[in-house]
Amino acid sequence: MRLRLIKKFFFPRLSLTIVLLILTLIIAFLAGKEFLVQRQSEPIFPSSGLSYHKKLSDYFPALRNTWGDTDVYIFEGKEPGGCILITGGTHPNEPAGFLTAVILIENIFVDKGKVVIIPRANASAFTHSDPQEGSPQRFFISTAKGKRFFRLGSRLTNPIHQWPDPAIYINPSGQKLSGSEVRNLNRCYPGRPDGLLTEKIAFAIMEVIRQEKIDLGIDVHESAPEYPVINALVFHENSSELAALVAINMESFGLKLRLEASPPNLRGLSHREWGDAAGILAVLIETPNASHGRLKGKPSPDLIVEGIDKFYPRASRSGRLFVDYPETGIPLKDRVGRHLASIISLVESFNELYPSKKIKINNIPDPNEVALKGLGFFLHSPS
């Protein structure tokens, strides 16, 4: 009697449970596989002008074998001169910052002085994307012989690599911030050698500045079109003359640059602490990126590369934005082109102000040609 009851009620449920369990495992396996795809790093193919390929952990060994370690590319001229640091990927959800660094690494030759490029400043933040955003993991750029993939990461360090967040974060400069900013590299300067992962990354970048004797640091970012600091250069007060010259030089590209002084009471940011703690000239540059804005429509690889969005042109027409947002979008090639124009102008202006420390970089892609021919033309073709 009891056995019959068990047979009648338990067995059908058991088999259902088993089927559901197997299904769950299949889904978990597939989702896990997709999840892990984000950890595969996109290849970068440096130009033959590369002098050294280092790791951030070469400057601060505590980062070795951690997710904070990242590539450092050094281009050194035959003649001595000034030294520039360019960081992309401080915020991996701002693709023009990362791509500008990649384009430079794959094209430039340095004759005089030295250029140090860190394309994925926060490597951990490339390994995940912001939850609940539906962002694509990758976007693609066509080159002559095939597509190249690049990751769209998050603004913050991966919580798998640094967890948990405090309720309130007091950064190394003593500023109180909301808890999640503990994983925002651009709030953690000048870093803590014995701190959390993101603070260690910030400290390691300060070590690069000190050990490579950097004169000028350029942190390359993007901002949402509804944010006032856009198409802008934020400068440390030690760089105000440089910034003014850059804005004037940018006019030769037909581009208007908004200048913003770095507020002295806003602490932990590159344009503040690189200047204060290491005494170098420090600037941060921004272009408009709809894919990390709050007003965007469906996020897609096309939105990232072409910048075409359903809602931003509407917001632009009703005067809600700090930039004109056309129906045709603000494509990645234009944003990278603008960053390249800023970097060219920064080098020109630096040379004008510090003639004894002249830097000569050859083969930076011309911003107008980037707009005309596309980014793929200036990227290595995978064979």
């Binding site: 007060e237 003359e241 908004r258 200048l259 002084a261």
Partner: protein, 185 residues
């Protein structure tokens, strides 16, 4: 039609510019010059760069007040309010207006001519910036403005009413020539 319009307007602009830049009626300024902003904008630094390129003996003093003008032969006021700039300087808009008024008052007493420049374009307009423009223009001997900042014709109207020459330029770097000319002998 559109092309014709563009050509005519650029020709007109060019002629106006030629006339403005070479006109013997334009006031002349003497060196050394003190450069400061009216509104703590970032363009003040650009004017210092242009002055350097033009070979004008100058000093940039972002917080200059009346007394600091002692010994200078002209005052360059760069117009436009920047909230970021005011924040960085640690002052509010009223304090800044007071500072600007003290400069104007001192230059009136000592007969130091004022050259006003507005280089920030459309974005450096609006209620707060206009407050400075309206406070400074009546004291100016000459005004240089980047065209996009004069889209609504405020500078044109005010300069006409006040009888002061206005030089409109296309972009910031174009302000170099009229600046140079106004300081040449």
């Amino acid at each position: 039609m559109e092309i014709k319009k563009t050509i005519t307007s650029s020709l007109m602009f060019f002629l106006f510019y030629l006339f403005a830049a070479s006109s013997p009626d334009l006031p002349k300024f003497s060196q050394p010059a003190l450069i400061t902003s009216a509104g703590q904008n970032a363009e003040v630094q650009m004017v210092a760069v242009l002055a350097k390129r033009a070979g004008i003996d100058h000093i940039l003093n972002k917080m200059a007040t009346g007394q600091d003008l002692e010994g200078y032969k002209s005052l360059l006021l760069v117009l436009g309010a920047s909230l970021k700039g005011l924040g960085a300087a640690g002052i509010d808009i009223n304090k800044e207006l007071e500072r600007v008024k003290s400069l104007i008052e001192f230059s009136r007493q000592k007969d130091i001519p004022i050259l006003c420049l507005h280089l920030g374009g459309e974005e450096r307009r609006g209620a707060q910036s206009d407050q400075f423009i309206k406070a400074c223009l009546p004291a100016a001997k000459m005004v240089i403005v980047v065209k996009s900042g004069n889209k609504d014709g405020l500078f044109t109207r005010m300069c006409q009413d006040l009888g002061i020459p206005l030089v409109e330029v296309e972009k910031i770097s174009d302000a170099l020539e009229p600046l140079k000319n106004s300081f040449s002998k």
